[in-house]
Amino acid sequence: MKKIKTYSEINERIKNGNAVVMTAGEFKELANHSKPGELANKVDVVTTATFGPMCSSGAFINFGHSGPPMRLEKISLNDVPAYGGIAAADAYVGATETANPHDKYGGAHVIEDLVSGKDIRLKASSKGTDCYPRKEIETKINIESVNEAFLFNPRNAYQNYAAAVNSQRRKLYTYMGVLLPSCGNVNYSTSGEYSPLLNDPDMRSIGVGTRIFLGGTQGFVAWHGTQFITSRPRNESGIPVLPAATLSLIGNLKEMSAEFIKAAYYEKYGTSLFVGVGIPIPVLDEDMAARLAIRNEQIETQVFDYGLSERPVVKKVNYKELQSGEIELGGRKVRTAPLSSISAAKNIMKLLKEEVSTGKFLINEPVEHFPKNTTNKALEGIEHG
């Protein structure tokens, strides 16, 4: 396929303030009456976004050294345990960690509180060593007082996700929200045609080192995410119809905003973190333009019955149907709900468009592309006799 423009040409236009930048919404409207070739000639960058609960998120923090020095081993932040099994003053706080099993305050809330500039109570203990003699510390920290704080999320921005329904006679409390009995609702969780990995399904422009919008600042794609599955079946529009690729993301927590980093608690499930992710996609050629033109009706997913342990597929649906507010299931209308904030995704796309248009946000060519043909392995337990 004929290459229409390069990354450096696009970045040159961004720096000069002449790049044509559109949100995914605007681009798709234009695509209704333009051919991919015309679109690729006309548009340089399309912004995409998602703002959903992403459990596989967390932050590395370096607290600084106390006097006398201490190796912080058992660590809590507002009583939420943080992982201290790394060097002396480093820790990792994960979004789903809580002090007690049913707490509504967890690691996600610690991260949101840090981003909001609130003081956090740090408690730590250590066995004490010759080089790190101190054994206990209790103090207050905040985003300003710590040396470094960066979000490092192993699995975000899922490329498609299954929708959930519950055929059983009792309510289910899940990470997909509350599922009413007797198929009373269908919950889904992607931003559909605005979602980054659904707009570049082969990840031609998204790889290690891609510059992204993360939580209100500029961050990067660090790696392919965990449970990265490229071997999922695809529909005729080239879209995987099951959860497929994912991204591991990194960014400076000190520059983030609580508007795009929001702690969540799901009843009888636990805590999670809404993460605002935006990815600008360069329109390098006709193929990229054609992919970016994809609409909700071409993006399909499967409805899984979470009421049964094998989670059978109940129905195939597309995001136009899901976003309409109800779908037909077993001969009746069932309400649908998004869980991922589509209005916040729209807002992120607009903000990112503004950043790119005004020369503040350049497009990185991936340093390394993601692996192809990956599959998913299951975990087998060992039976003890």
Partner: protein
């Protein structure tokens, strides 16, 4: 017209057939959608009343004369809308369709007139933004 109310009964009023009188004496259509009786203390009833404004007013006066507190249902429902992120988790459980996503903006609409104070949204909201107390 149709209006939704929460009635709070003192123990003494529990023995009186209130809904019977509302229907028979005041020609009101009564639809009960939530009820809670805390034996020995008080009872709560969430209901919709349909009739002419004059009939509804007279019916409410009658209920009050029995010692029943009547307040409009929307007073029991509070949402911190300015903190809402429009995720839609509440819409999933709102079987009365009071909470809906606007299909264009994908923002939350809350039509309090359709609320049945079932309280399901209070646990569904991941940010705990609903304060709904059918029983205070």
């Amino acid at each position: 017209m149709k209006s939704r109310y929460v009635f709070v009964f003192p123990t003494e009023a529990i023995n009186k057939p209130l809904t019977y009188h509302l229907v028979k004496d005041f020609d009101l259509k009564v639809n009960i959608f939530n009820a809670y009786i805390n034996s020995g203390e008080e009872g709560n009833l969430a209901l919709e009343i349909e009739g002419s404004p004059g009939q509804i007013q007279a019916g409410l006066e009658f209920a009050k004369s029995l010692g029943v507190e009547c307040s409009t249902l929307d007073k029991r429902v509070k949402l911190e809308h300015d903190r809402c992120i429009n995720c839609g988790a509440c819409v999933a459980v709102c079987y009365s369709d009071a909470l809906k996503m606007d299909a264009n903006t994908m923002e939350l609409n809350f039509d309090k007139d359709k609320c049945t104070v079932c309280e399901l949204c209070t646990t569904a909201c991941p940010l705990q933004l609903f304060k709904i107390n059918f029983v205070e």
